[in-house]
C-alpha cells in the first residue's frame, strides 16, 4: 500500500505587518492509504494551517503536498472536511445539510440517489429519524455526527478532521470515537485528525504525529499497529498507558522548545 497523503518538507509563513510569521518548517508526514493519522502538538503550532494545505485551500511557501500521487495545486472534489464547529446550515434540514457536498461534486446525481446516500450515512451514525429536523433542534453531539456524515457523503478519499470532537463533553466524545471506528469499517478513507486529546489520538490513530512548537516540524511519530474497530477498553491496556506517557513526554518537549524560542 502506498502513501495516499504525503507532505514533504513543507515550510510556510504567514505574511504579517511585523514580517513573515513562520508556522511550519520542514514538515514531513506520510499517511498510507486507508489509515488514520492523528496529529497532536502544542496549541497554536500550525495544525489548522496543515489542514488547509492538505485541502488545497492554501499552498506552502516551500515543499510539496501530494494526494494520490498528484501534487496539490487546487482544491479537489475528493476531500471531506469536518471542524470543531459543526457549521451546519440552520435553514436546511439535517438531510439537506448532509447532501450539500453532493450538490457541488455531483450536481447531476438524481435527488433520490443523493437522499438515499445521505440517509444511509445518517443511519450509520445513529441519526435515523432526525433527517427532517433542523440543526437547532439537535444536541451538540448529534450536530457533530451530522457534520461527519456531510464530510463523507461524496465518498472522499481524504478526510480532514480539525478537532471535530474538541467542543463535546467527555461522554459524548467517547461515543463519537466509537462511531468513528464503526464508520471506518463501512466508509474506508484516509484521514488526518487534528486533536488536542492524547487519548483520542491513541484510540483513533494508526499513527500519531507529534508536532514541535512553532514553527512546527515533525518531532515524533508513533505507530499504533492495532486493527480497528478498537474497543474503548483498549485505552486502559498497559501498552496504551505506556504510549500515552511517551506522547505526553513528547508534548512537554514540544512546549519547552516553544518557550525557549519565545
Amino acid at each position: 500500500m502506498g502513501n495516499l497523503i504525503e507532505i514533504k518538507g513543507v515550510t510556510h509563513a504567514y505574511k504579517t505587518k511585523a514580517g513573515p510569521f513562520p508556522v511550519l518548517r520542514e514538515l514531513d508526514i506520510a499517511i498510507p492509504e486507508g489509515s488514520f493519522c492523528a496529529v497532536v502538538g502544542p496549541s497554536g503550532c500550525g495544525k489548522s494551517t496543515l489542514t488547509r494545505l492538505i485541502a488545497g485551500l492554501m499552498f506552502p511557501d516551500q515543499g510539496e503536498v501530494w494526494l494520490h500521487g498528484e501534487l496539490v495545486r487546487s482544491p479537489r472534489k475528493t476531500v471531506g472536511m469536518a471542524f470543531q464547529n459543526p457549521v451546519l446550515l440552520e435553514w436546511r434540514t439535517i438531510l439537506q445539510n448532509v447532501i450539500l457536498p453532493l450538490e457541488i461534486v455531483a450536481p447531476r446525481m438524481p435527488k433520490r440517489d443523493k437522499e438515499a446516500r445521505a440517509r444511509e450515512l445518517l443511519a450509520l451514525v445513529g441519526l435515523e429519524g432526525f433527517e427532517n429536523k433542523r440543526p437547532s433542534e439537535l444536541s451538540g453531539g448529534m450536530r457533530q455526527r451530522a457534520s461527519l456524515c456531510r464530510s463523507l457523503v461524496h465518498r472522499p478519499d481524504v478526510l480532514i478532521l480539525d478537532e471535530p470532537f474538541g467542543a463535546l463533553d467527555a461522554f459524548t466524545r467517547e461515543d463519537l470515537w466509537q462511531t468513528m471506528h464503526e464508520l471506518r469499517v463501512k466508509e474506508p478513507v484516509t484521514a488526518v485528525l487534528i486533536t488536542h486529546d492524547l487519548r483520542e489520538s491513541v484510540y483513533l490513530g494508526d499513527q500519531v504525529v507529534v508536532l514541535s512548537g512553532r514553527p512546527a516540524t515533525t518531532q515524533y511519530v508513533m505507530e499504533i499497529p492495532i486493527p480497528g474497530p478498537r474497543p474503548l477498553e483498549m485505552l486502559y491496556t498497559p501498552e496504551s498507558v505506556e504510549r500515552l506517557a511517551v506522547l505526553r513526554r513528547q508534548i512537554q518537549i514540544a512546549q519547552g522548545r516553544a518557550e525557549e524560542e519565545a
Binding site: A55, P75, V79, F83, N85, V87, E90, W91, P101
Partner: protein, 255 residues
C-alpha cells in the same frame, strides 16, 4: 385559548385606555379644535375627506414601496460589494457614513431643484436614499462576518465564490437583512413624507397634512398622522410575513 385571548384583548384594552386618557385630557383642559384635537374628532375629520385619504394614502404607499424596493436592490448590491471585497469596503464605508449623516430634509430641496416637477421621481428617490443605508450595512456585515469554516466546506470541494455566496452567505445573512428592512420601512415613510411636506405638489398624505396645518385643522392633522401610522404598520407586518417565509428558520422555538 387564554393565551390567544391575551394576545388580542390586552393590546385593545391598552389602546382604549390611551385614547380615553387623551380624550379626558382635552376635555379637562377645555382645548378648542384649533388648539388640539381629541380622539372623538378624528373620525368626523376622516369622513369629511374620506376620498382624499384613500387617494393620497395610495400615492404615499406606492411611492414608499417603490423607494423601498430600490433600496433593497441597491442596498443589497452595495452590501455585497462591501462584504465580499475588503478594498471596496474601505473605499465605500466613509462615503456611506458621511452621506447617511446628512439630514435628508436638506437633500429634498436639492433634489426638487435638480428634477423640477418630477414629483413622483423625487419622492421615490428620497425614500430610497434615506432607507438603503441600514440594508447595505447589514448585508455587508452579514457577509464579512461569515465564519471561514462555512466557506471552507464548499471551497475545499472546488466550489466557486458565487456558489459559496448563493448557497451559504446569502441565506445566512437573511435574518440580518430582514432586521434592517424593518428599520428601512419606517425610514422610507419618513422620506416620502418629507418630500410631500417640504415640496408639496398636491400629492400624498403629506400634502393633506400640510393643508390641514395651514388651516390649523388639528382633527385633520391627527387623522393624517393616524392614517400614516396605519400604513406604516401595514407595511411593517408585510415585512414580518416575508421574514417568516424566508428566514423563519432563524426563529427559536419557545421551548
Amino acid at each position: 385559548m387564554s393565551i390567544s385571548w391575551q394576545k388580542v384583548l390586552v393590546p385593545i384594552i391598552a389602546m382604549a385606555v390611551l385614547l380615553a386618557a387623551w380624550e379626558a385630557l382635552v376635555w379637562y383642559m377645555g382645548w378648542p379644535k384649533f388648539k388640539m384635537a381629541a380622539p372623538s374628532d378624528l373620525w368626523p375629520a376622516y369622513l369629511r375627506f374620506q376620498d382624499l385619504f384613500w387617494i393620497y394614502g395610495w400615492q404615499t404607499l406606492w411611492r414608499t414601496v417603490a423607494g423601498l424596493m430600490l433600496a433593497v436592490v441597491f442596498g443589497t448590491l452595495i452590501g455585497m460589494i462591501m462584504g465580499l471585497s475588503r478594498i471596496m469596503n474601505d473605499a465605500l464605508y466613509p462615503i456611506l457614513v458621511g452621506f447617511n449623516a446628512i439630514p435628508k430634509a436638506t437633500v429634498v430641496p436639492v433634489v426638487a431643484l435638480m428634477f423640477v416637477g418630477q414629483h413622483d421621481f423625487n419622492t421615490i428617490l428620497i425614500a430610497f436614499l434615506i432607507s438603503f443605508f441600514p440594508i447595505a450595512v447589514s448585508v455587508a456585515i452579514g457577509l464579512s462576518t461569515l465564519e471561514p469554516e462555512y466557506r471552507d466546506i464548499l471551497r475545499s470541494l472546488g466550489a466557486s465564490r458565487f456558489t459559496v455566496f448563493w448557497k451559504i452567505a446569502l441565506p445566512k445573512t437573511l435574518p440580518e437583512f430582514f432586521g434592517a428592512l424593518k428599520v428601512a420601512v419606517t425610514l422610507a415613510f419618513i422620506g416620502t413624507n418629507l418630500v410631500e411636506i417640504i415640496t408639496p405638489h398636491g400629492r400624498g398624505l403629506g400634502h393633506l397634512f400640510q393643508s390641514a396645518q395651514i388651516n390649523s385643522d388639528f382633527p385633520l392633522m391627527f387623522a393624517v398622522l393616524i392614517a400614516l401610522a396605519a400604513l406604516g404598520i401595514f407595511l411593517y407586518y408585510i415585512v414580518v410575513a416575508l421574514e417568516r417565509i424566508f428566514a423563519g428558520w432563524a426563529e427559536r422555538s419557545p421551548t
